[in-house]
């Protein structure tokens, strides 16, 4: 009972609860058929949302107005960079991953440069940057699908007892992110800036450096995600990151991170990502038309967040 109570206080519980309910509804519909497969599929697909979601979470936590809208374009470009560098050869996998990481980090750094040097609001800075990145991607990748090396493709599909290895690695990564958030100077500083940037500055937080690091981190995670996506979906592609514009924001906020800044939540990102994939699974399984599918997606999201309720206001 006490456990239930203390759990109910955690904002991330609701996203997991939502995921569970949606999953139960689906297997009730299929009569239990495919229950395990669904979880496997959900885990493999949620990974990609979780990785960018964590980056977006740190950015959003920096306070109102902070958001990285360049992630989709970033993912697209990084996927092309990774595939071109790997050039279908297994020996170049690590180099390709590093190239994607560097490409993403560079994009993040440029984003912050625009925000800082030109004082452009982050939402517009990252949006503008994303247009430019798209163009670079189109002229660099020519919209062609470049295939990953077989070893890398197999790695992204590798499962142990039905659990995708990539998901396990991502769980480790998110545990690291959670520790960084709550127990490292970096995370504390992000939280402080998100609550009150001026007070953070006056409390000795190096505001400029932390914001720079955060945008760069978000960019770098987008880069890695691009490479992994290209592996899993068997090819780089300009559009490969498109859905992560909304999805990366959605998992952050559904997962219980405060959009007002200063309050973040890592487990919630996982819960929300699983919830979104399982929701798609459920609606695809029910076989409803696109219109009804979208309608139900929306209503269920609103329903879950309403059930979860908002945070209690302080004083």
């Amino acid at each position: 009972m006490i456990l239930v109570k203390s759990l109910a206080g955690k904002p991330w519980v609701w996203s997991f609860l939502g995921a569970l309910l949606v999953w139960l509804a689906t297997i009730a519909f299929t009569g239990g058929y495919g229950a395990g497969g669904m979880v496997t599929a959900a885990l493999s697909l949620a990974v990609f949302t979780v990785i960018v979601g964590v980056g977006q979470m740190f950015v959003i936590t920096l306070g109102p107005g902070n958001v990285d809208l360049s992630l989709p374009a970033n993912i697209g470009l990084a996927s092309a960079v990774a595939m071109k560098v790997m050039a279908g050869s297994d020996s170049m996998i690590v180099v390709g991953l590093l190239a994607a990481l560097a490409c993403g980090a560079a994009i993040g750094a440029v984003n912050y440069l625009l925000i800082w040097a030109l004082r452009i609001p982050p939402i517009i800075a990252t949006l503008s940057a994303s247009f430019i990145i798209q163009s670079i991607d189109i002229s660099y990748g020519r919209g062609l699908q470049i295939k990953p090396p077989p070893g890398f493709a197999d790695f992204t599909n590798w499962q142990i007892l039905g659990v995708p290895v990539l998901a396990l690695l991502t769980v480790l990564f998110t545990i690291g992110a959670a520790i960084a958030l709550q127990r490292m100077i970096y995370g504390r500083s992000v939280l402080a800036i998100g609550q009150n940037i001026r007070a953070a500055w006056l409390a000795g937080v190096n505001v400029g450096r932390i914001r720079f690091l955060t945008y760069t981190l978000s960019g770098a995670l987008g880069g890695i995600d691009g490479a992994l996506l290209a592996g899993y979906f068997r090819g780089a592609n300009v559009d490969i990151g498109n859905e992560y514009l909304l999805a990366s924001i959605a998992v952050v906020v559904i997962g219980g991170t405060s959009v007002a800044g200063g309050k973040a939540n890592v487990p919630g990102v996982w819960g929300a990502a699983l919830f979104l994939v399982l929701l798609l699974t459920m609606l695809n399984t029910f076989g409803v038309s696109a219109g009804v599918r979208l309608l139900l997606t929306g209503l269920i999201i609103v329903g879950v967040i309403t059930a979860a309720g908002g945070e209690k206001a302080v004083r």
Binding site: A41, S289, G291
Partner: protein, 316 residues
Amino acid sequence: DTSGKKIAFSNNYAGNSWRQAMLDSYGIVTKKAVADKIVGAADIFTTADKEVPTQAAQVQNLILQGYDAIVINAASPDALNGAIKQACDAGIVVVSFDGTVTEPCAYRVVVDFKDMGKQEVEQMAKFQPKGGNLLEIRGLAGTSIDDAIHAGILEGVAAHPEFKIVGSVTGDWDQTTAQKAVATILPSLPDVVGIVDQGGDGYGAAQAFAAAGKPRPTIIMGNRQDELKWWKEQKDKDGYKTWSASIAPGVSSLAFWVAQQVLDGRKDIPHDLLVPYLAFTQDDFEAALPKIKEGGVATHEYTQEDALAAIKANIK
């Protein structure tokens, strides 16, 4: 004489291999036409993200720029009508293709998408004579092309009662989205014998089946290089059979020639020109494969003569 005429190309998206091939074909043909002094200028204008209002604004700006003709791949068949009408009223020739427009004053280079959908089931019947369950992958919801292909598929299934569509997902003509959608429905899907789709999503579906360790069904393909290559690999392995169809990106060049001909004063060109979609069968796809760029799409560019022949075929 059209040597002083300026033709603009209004495009709303450039981010996938089909659109890149479309732009390539158009570029190749028009560069030559400009060099040969057949037309004065042929400029390309691209907007982002398939946005209707942005493209409408673009058309209006092209009117202001004083172009004589606009070739357009429209983001919406109806919602651009206002802008297209304004262009016509300003005396500009408008030729649409792929994403065609319904405004009567414009020309349409049309592919019979409904027939393509129907053919998919017809072909499927050849490979799976016993019939069985089908999975349908649909395109971008709310668009006319998706609607037409889907209608054709339904018609085909009606004519072949041995088939039953047991699942339908939305793939947005995008490999990533398609693969994701198929992956989520697969665990709960009964065994299927075939997949009918809209092109560009066959490879993603194949990957999803492989990842889930499910037996490979007959997947109708969409003329992309990776799809044909996968087909060949499967064929070499165990004689796998399928069929592939899609609109050829090079239709853009045909649309260009239509515009040029209308500017040249031809009055006999019908406003609706039907051109065949590009299909590959078990017999001819291997010959086409080497000609397609790695990661690209099968295409066909129209020379002026091809175009004249195609126009002629449409004059009854």
